[in-house]
């Protein structure tokens, strides 16, 4: 069934914009209509430029308009990148030659070519990130403007690396554009759905177990690092998580859970809730095709599938986006997936790192208890 009801995930063009717009010193141009421009602009809260092409440019060619926009941006000192949307992508124009004259990057990432992850990866590849063997520290990747937790993740992983006396090299994709060419030789991740592929991947930071393993490896490979402060904090906080989860289980049954998220966050949520709360993980509805999971899982692309899976598995709590919240009825809900509409979010909450697990467990427990406790 190729048709899709209420599609849940952004297109490749939006993913490409999310990657490029994260870099300072880069001017990103959406080559297409105003409609294609407005969506990534409102979603990413990043400055983007557009060609806003019109019907006559579809008929007579859009190159002049693209050249006009590029020339307006020339002289800012920024590197210019152009992302093609669906219509310009099929016009058959020789856009690469035009852009080569201006030393502009071209990301051919029309919406019909795939989902956000594929556009993100395509854009990152065009940047040709390179390792500089003399660069100190480690890179952080998985920082994607589409992710509502990107800011909290970055803050938290910077904090932990600081505790371990490990310098941060390049952040993919939230850094100066020039630093894409001076990445360190090792990388740690915050969200496996948006890997950079730059340097040697040391490991992820989602969940205490992965975080511990990653920092142990970091301690081995980064000269001058001292991971003991991180390990001490991790150990203390894990004890605290165990204590509050144990207290919850003295009074309540473990929750049954259905998760709708990118593969990386879905696995983290399932692993964490199973480990600390003995939760019954009934289903992972994945926004993208991640690796194999030991939990029941499948790709879920439309809202109809979400409704079906929630009704089928009848969980106590649903984790997902505000799309899922809209069809969760009276079940407990906690948001870990974009979009998270209809709620005010100001503080940079993390999912990664020590504070990420603390915040996640605290939110799930509070949500469950709010649903389970009798009204006073």
């Amino acid at each position: 069934m190729p048709e899709c009801d209420n599609p849940l995930w952004p297109c490749a063009m939006t993913g490409a914009a999310a990657a490029l717009a994260g870099f300072e010193g880069m001017s990103v141009v959406i080559h297409g209509s105003s409609g294609c421009y407005y969506y990534p602009t409102t979603l990413l809260h990043a400055p983007l430029h557009g060609t806003f092409i019109l019907e006559n440019e579809v008929i007579f060619g859009s190159e002049d308009r693209l050249r006009e926009v590029i020339e307006e941006l020339d002289g800012t000192g920024n590197r210019i990148a152009v992302i093609t949307t669906c219509v310009p992508a099929i016009l058959g124009e020789d856009t690469p030659s035009l852009l080569a004259e201006h030393d502009v990057l071209l990301v051919d990432s029309p919406g019909f070519s795939g989902d956000a992850e594929s556009g993100y990866a395509r854009a990152l590849k065009i940047l040709e990130p390179a390792v500089d063997r003399s660069a100190e520290g480690v890179n952080i990747d998985g920082i994607c403007l589409l992710d509502p937790f990107f800011s909290g993740n970055l803050q938290e992983i910077r904090r932990l690396l600081g505790l371990a006396s490990v310098p941060v090299a390049t952040v993919f994709c939230r850094d100066a554009f020039s630093k894409t060419r001076t990445a360190a030789s090792c990388t740690i991740g915050t969200n496996g759905d948006f890997l950079s592929g730059v340097g040697k991947y040391i490991g992820g930071t989602l969940g205490f177990d992965r975080l511990k393993a990653t920092f142990e490896r970091l301690g081995d490979v980064v000269e001058g690092s001292d991971i003991d402060p991180v390990m001490r904090e991790l150990s203390q906080q894990e004890e605290e998580v165990s204590r509050v989860c144990d207290k919850f289980l003295r009074r309540f049954d473990p929750p049954s859970v259905v998760v709708f998220a990118g593969a990386s966050y879905a696995e983290f949520a399932a692993r964490t809730l199973e480990h600390y709360l003995d939760a019954d993980i009934r289903f992972l509805g994945l926004r993208n095709t991640g690796g194999l999971s030991r939990y029941p899982s499948s790709l879920v692309t439309g809202l109809g599938q979400v409704k079906t899976m929630i009704e089928l598995h009848d969980p106590d709590i649903v984790l997902g986006s505000s799309f899922e919240r809209s069809v969760s009825g009276s079940r407990a809900f906690y948001g870990i997936t974009p979009p998270l509409r209809g709620a005010v979010r100001l503080a940079p909450a993390p999912v990664a790192g020590i504070n990420g697990t603390l915040f996640f467990v605290e939110q799930v427990l509070n949500t469950c208890m709010d649903h389970l406790r009798p009204t006073i």
Binding site: M1, P2, E3, C4, D5, N6, P7, L8, W9, P10, C11, A12, M13, T14, S33, S34, G35, C36, Y38, Y39, T42, L43, F52, I53, L54, E55, N56, V58, C86, V87, I90, L91, P110, G111, F112, S113, T301, L303, S322, F323, S326, V327, P339, R341, G342
Partner: protein, 339 residues
């Protein structure tokens, strides 16, 4: 041919109408991303307006192979799949991609389907602007109605369903109409059933949300003979003029209604006497002439002077409706002046 680069997407404009028809499905003939963009936008707007219902959008999910060989079969397959569901109506809206590859959407919709399948001229930016999409969808929906004898009601045409204050603006119009003892017929189109649409031709007057809807107002006038007022009122004097215009169109003496509204406006201005005689400059994301005129009139009434100094107190303006809209704007001014 459409010449504004910032006119927005025709598809989104049309969807802002078709998604407010209950038990109907809107098929977006194009790549999945177009449907997702709009689903996300409408989802956010509906949450802002405390509406639990989600828009029912289905994408024909065009892939690269459809772009090469044509997407009509993908559209037919999608319509077939949607018709198998319990739906009253299917709207088909094309995207700029479908328009560029030249799919004959009307021909596919014209096949023999078990429920009404209504094509709405859109095609993204190739179809014009956001507002063109709104007008095209309103006009497409009139297929459900027939001319009939005018009754006592007036219809509200083309409310901005993506507007944050849409219900408050409607409530203000209802309040003004109540001063003239005129009931509202249908809200065309806001949360209606296809069964409501036949009443469209039975109004004695149509009130358009704003002048950009004149093409739809003209279509209704030609089809049903219903006169229209081109806009909701946007300021103090415009509100009084609106009462007068509605009364004239309906053959009612507006005297008492006007006196009541003038007293109400006087009370509003008295409530904000504390910010009178201050200074400021107007600011806001939407500085259209009508909003600026309404703001200027309110400022003059309170003897608030416009400053030439850009560091002066910033008085936010936004598109207001009626005297109540002015009151809400004045609350924002008070907050700014006393900040």
């Amino acid at each position: 041919m459409h010449t504004s680069r910032s006119g927005g997407c025709t598809l989104t404009g049309a969807l802002s109408i078709t998604t407010h028809v209950r038990d109907a499905v809107s098929i977006i003939h194009g790549p999945k991303g177009c449907a997702h963009h709009n689903f996300s936008l409408f989802h956010a707007t509906m949450l802002d307006n405390e509406q639990a219902a989600l828009p029912d959008l289905v994408s024909s999910a065009l892939l690269e192979s459809d772009i090469i060989f044509g997407g009509e079969e993908a559209l037919a397959r999608t319509i077939r799949s949607v018709c198998d569901r319990d739906v009253s109506t299917v709207f088909v809206l094309s995207t700029c991609l479908a328009g560029t590859i030249g799919d004959d959407v009307d021909a596919v919709c014209g096949r023999d389907w078990p429920v009404p399948v209504i094509p709405v001229p859109t095609a993204g930016f190739l179809g014009g602007s956001f507002q063109d999409g709104v007008n095209n969808a309103l006009i497409a929906l009139t297929v459900f109605s027939e001319p009939s004898q005018p009754g006592p009601c007036v219809n509200i045409i083309g409310e901005k369903n993506l507007e944050y204050e849409v219900e408050e603006n409607y409530a203000e119009i209802v309040r003004l109409l109540a001063l003239l003892h005129i009931p509202v017929g249908i809200r065309f189109v806001r949360n209606i059933s296809p069964d409501d649409v036949p009443a469209l031709g039975a109004a004695r007057l149509n009130i358009l949300r704003d002048p950009s809807l004149v093409p739809a107002g003209e279509h209704l006038r030609q089809r049903f003979g219903t006169p229209y007022i081109p806009s909701f009122p946007d300021g103090l004097s415009a509100t009084l003029a609106f009462i007068g215009s509605v009364a004239a169109a309906c053959g009612i003496d507006p005297g008492k209604a006007l006196r009541t509204e003038q007293e109400f406006q006087a009370e509003i201005l008295a409530d904000f006497a504390d910010i009178g005689d201050s200074q400021g400059i107007f600011c806001g994301p939407v500085m259209d002439p009508a909003s600026s005129r309404a703001a200027r009139e309110a400022a003059d009434a309170l003897r608030i002077r416009m400053s030439g100094n850009k560091d002066a107190c910033q008085l936010p303006i936004h598109p207001v409706v009626g005297s109540s809209g002015i009151r809400r704007m004045l609350h924002r001014w008070r907050r700014a002046i006393h900040a």
